[in-house]
């Protein structure tokens, strides 16, 4: 078989940063190629050059053996290259059919003629897509939207399909479905490039793995002749232990108790629906759920950033409902939320590390001036303790690498000595090395007796790191499981709402036996 795509000597730099250095990569026809690399190794940049978003500084691209220059996404589509981005590019108010029809070049004069519908539905059936073509995108789940995105690029005639971290937002069952579709596409002669961080998926789906490291092409290996350990070494450049530690601590009384919590999201819909849970000191409680199941709203409610609709929140027996974020912080609850864009919330990217250190307590200094001297000391301490790599304390945070940014954020949250630490996606977008350092920091806090709420994405990591995992689906609690005696599949079923074990064996999950609530409740009733 010939090469569907060949890249020769592709380089691309942004300012002084070389994102891709002299990359040579081939994709054969009818092949699933996994593109592997740590964050910032240049995977997405490289794919964006194929899809016409960026143009290479140097190098040539060959499609089907012919040299081409891709100057725009339209040109890329004409060459039969289709990319499914991490962030969906769909019109929310349109149906599936309308979304596909939008970019379709053929299909008769009428926008939604019978031919168009037939073509789209036939294509869907051919590859085993389960899709309701008249459903509005805004009513679709994440996995439906993704299915639609893939169907869309196939309908546009793409032979080479690039999937940028398609599994990040899916449950285990949905991933299986996606992989089935991918295999069918492969049989049909399509070539697929899949970007992912998850090694087990790479092993399962791909034919060949290409590895990038620091913008350079390291090489490619046949999937059948390799293993996860070897791939990690290729990716990181040295040997690394893949075991996450889980120190077992003596658990204390419940520090934070949440009872019957209901919170609305920005659109006014119920995002958290009657949640019950608690965190003890020295315990790490994982929160699993499909993206957008109410995790963000839950964190914001605990931190006092979002008014609650109903319910109770007790911190060491005292209600924190209605308190300002500042007051809750003073109480000892600290939150670090890493949003998708990493810097959007929690840090001010253009300000220095020093300035970011005092973000939450700048107001404690006396008088009208900010106490930068003390802040600089704190910044220095955090840099030493957490091994933050930075030229100085005055470097703007946005100039730091992802791992260091997250360390600054955690460093600030830990600094105030909280006894409850809410951390959402602390390793989001981090490479393996940095992730492990973050796990270490969290474990140290746990060993100090801090109760940690860990909102995560990667089930493998959560199973290894957390003591217990609670699963959310559509804002509802589906159950709390002990990470030593559960499986990924069970959690996956709970994430989709297919399994609910909150009321198993006569006991209710999320309510502590030694709750501080009991006496309070009687007060309320009396």
């Amino acid at each position: 078989m010939g090469n569907a795509i060949e890249l020769r000597g592709i380089s691309k730099s942004f300012g002084s940063v070389a994102a891709n250095k002299n990359i040579n990569l081939t994709v054969e026809k009818g092949e699933i190629l996994a593109l592997l690399g740590e964050n910032g190794s240049g995977k997405t940049t490289l794919m964006n050059m194929l899809s016409g978003i960026y143009m290479p500084d140097s190098g040539s691209i060959f499609v089907d053996g012919k040299k081409v220059s891709i100057n725009s996404p339209e040109q890329s589509a004409k060459l039969g290259i289709g990319m499914v981005h991490q962030h969906f590019k769909l019109v929310e108010r349109f149906t599936a059919l309308e979304n596909i029809r939008l970019g379709l070049k053929t299909g008769g004069k009428f926008l939604l003629g019978k031919d168009t519908r037939k073509y789209i539905e036939d294509t869907a059936a051919k590859f085993g897509f389960e899709i309701d073509s008249d459903k509005l995108v805004c009513n679709m789940s994440v996995s439906e939207k993704q299915t639609l995105e893939i169907l869309k690029v196939i309908c546009y005639g793409a032979n080479i399909i690039i999937l940028d971290e398609p599994t990040a937002v899916l449950t285990v069952q949905e991933i299986d479905k996606l992989f089935d579709v991918m295999r069918k596409m492969k049989q049909d002669g399509h070539s697929i490039i899949i970007i992912t961080h998850k090694l087990n998926e790479v092993m399962e789906i791909s034919d060949r793995v290409a590895v990038l490291r620091h913008g350079e092409y390291i090489g490619s290996v046949k999937t059948s002749g390799t293993n996860e350990k070897e791939l990690t070494e290729l990716m990181v450049g040295r040997r690394i232990s893949l075991n996450i530690e889980r120190p077992v601590m003596e658990k204390t009384h419940p520090l934070l108790e949440i009872r019957d919590l209901t919170v609305r999201n920005d659109e006014g819909a119920i995002a958290v629906d009657g949640m019950n849970f608690y965190i003890r000191g020295g315990e790490m409680l994982g929160v699993a759920g499909i993206a957008g199941s109410g995790q963000k709203e839950l964190c914001e409610a605990i931190a006092g950033l979002r008014p609650i609709e109903r319910g109770q929140m007790l911190h060491e027996g005292e209600s924190i409902v209605g308190m300002s974020p500042k007051k809750i912080l003073d109480h000892g609850i600290s939150m670090s939320f890493i949003p998708e864009d990493r810097l959007g919330m929690g840090l001010a990217p253009s300000l220095s590390i020093t300035d970011n250190m005092i973000l939450k307590n700048y107001n404690e200094a006396k008088g009208i001036f900010v106490d930068r001297k003390a802040a600089r000391e704190e910044a220095k301490e955090a840099i030493d303790k957490l091994e933050i790599v930075t030229p100085s304390t005055e470097t703007p945070v946005r100039k730091l690498s992802g791992g260091n940014v997250q360390k600054v954020l955690l460093g600030r949250e830990i600094k105030s000595g909280p006894n409850v630490l809410v951390t959402a996606y602390p390793v989001r977008g981090l490479d393996i090395n940095s992730s492990y350092m973050i796990y270490d920091i969290l474990n140290q806090q746990k060993q100090k007796g801090v109760g940690i709420l860990f909102v995560g994405e990667d089930l493998d990591v959560m199973l290894a790191l957390c003591d217990k995992i609670m699963v959310m689906c559509h804002g509802r609690l589906q159950g709390v499981v002990n990470s030593t005696n559960t499986t990924k599949e069970d959690i996956g079923l709970m994430m989709t709402g297919a399994l609910n074990i909150v009321n198993k064996e006569g006991k209710t999950d999320g309510i502590a036996a030694d709750s501080a609530f009991e006496d309070k409740k009687e007060d309320a009733n009396g």
């Binding site: 143009m55 190098g59 931190a303 939150m335 253009s350 009208i368």
Partner: protein, 367 residues
């Protein structure tokens, strides 16, 4: 064309920026020279008059310095005020409107101040100007905070509203209209009583207006306000990421309201000082500082010391162009404005060139 594209320069060197600026100024001066020669004017002579601002060999050189200060003070204060709002990513492009509102209210005080203590009069004028401009700013900020309206559109439209208000006052002959001269049949803006005019420290013939002292003190104060105070810190955080500010427990709405009030009322102060210095009001009292101030603030990358220096340079440019233009019968102030425009435009282009470079796509050597 597909082979060329823009790349952000990796390093920022002040030396390169200065060299690029100088190149830009040189190019614009050459364009101006061609225009001048086509009008039979010796460009070298013209430019030397422009750069010396008519100071050399002039018996009344001190008058020119006074006039320069009149241009400089409002520009400096307005640029500082706009810089403050821009730092918060609040796109206040309503400097003109806020300035005019301030000027109108200061004139209301001035026209009705006969016999009052001069210091008190000027102080009242400034307060009236600051309050009126500040309230406009506050209103825009309130709409933004409450309904998330677009502040760029709001402030832009207010510019025109205020411009037509002052035109109306200047064109309407009526009993109530104390803005106009009573002894003239045609509508002309009147002059302020003497006690409403800006005083100063007299050094020989030269009068150092108090407004300059106010402006310099203000520059220092705003510098410390942004760099050292909690409020300044809050502005930086809100400007950088409003979500982060909220997350840190800041009252973002309050900060936006407060900062916009300060920014607009500072522009009002500039207007108060300018009307008092001019001794009258008119629809051209702003001297376009609301627009020029935006250029000053961004050319200075919102740094306060840089705003101070840039304001001086642009004032010299403005005044120099006009001073030179008055020396030749063939050209008038409009030519000075054209030249100024060319120079500012070139500097902006070279500023862009100093930040970005054009890169050519190379073919792979092994391709």
């Amino acid at each position: 064309m597909g082979n060329f594209h823009l790349v952000r320069r990796a390093d920022y060197s002040i030396k390169r920026v200065i060299i690029y600026y100088l190149i830009g100024i040189l190019i614009s001066l050459s364009i101006g020279a061609i225009l001048l020669m086509s009008l039979n004017i010796n460009p070298i002579e013209y430019y030397s008059r422009m750069l010396s601002m008519g100071l050399i060999g002039n018996k009344f050189a001190y008058k020119n310095v006074e006039s320069l200060i009149k241009i400089f003070v409002p520009l400096l204060i307005t640029s500082l005020a706009l810089g403050l709002a821009f730092k918060m990513r609040f796109w206040n492009i309503g400097g003109e409107g806020e300035f005019l509102a301030g000027a109108i209210c200061a004139s209301v005080v001035a026209f009705n101040s006969k016999g009052m203590n001069p210091f008190l009069t000027v102080l009242l004028m400034c307060i009236a100007a600051m309050l009126s401009a500040g309230l406009i700013g506050l209103a825009v900020a309130a709409l933004k905070v409450k309904f998330n309206t677009n502040e760029t559109l709001m402030t832009l439209m207010l510019n025109y509203i205020m411009l037509y208000v002052i035109k109306y006052l200047g064109d309407t002959k009526a009993d109530w209209n104390f803005f106009l001269r009573e002894d003239s049949d045609r509508p002309i803006f009147g002059e302020f009583p003497e006690n409403a005019e800006m005083g100063g420290i007299t050094i020989g013939f030269f009068t150092l207006q108090y407004s300059l002292i106010v402006a310099v003190i203000l520059t220092v104060l705003i510098y410390f306000y942004i760099k050292k105070t909690k409020q300044g810190y809050e502005i930086s955080v809100v400007g950088d990421s409003a979500a982060t500010a909220k997350y840190a427990g800041m009252n973002v709405s309050w900060i936006v309201l407060r900062t916009m009030f300060i920014s607009a009322s500072l522009i009002g102060l500039a207007a108060g000082l300018a009307t008092s210095t001019a001794g009258t009001v008119s629809d051209s009292i702003t001297n376009n500082v609301g627009w020029t101030g935006i250029i000053v603030a961004w050319l200075s990358k919102l740094s306060i010391p840089a705003i101070f220096v840039t304001s001086i340079l642009i004032s010299v440019l403005q005044y120099g162009c006009r001073a030179a233009a008055t020396q030749y019968p063939a050209i008038d102030q409009n030519f000075a404005d054209i030249l100024q425009g060319i120079i500012l435009f070139s500097v902006l282009v070279t500023d862009f060139a100093a930040t970005f470079r054009i890169a050519k796509r190379e073919e792979a050597s092994n391709g």
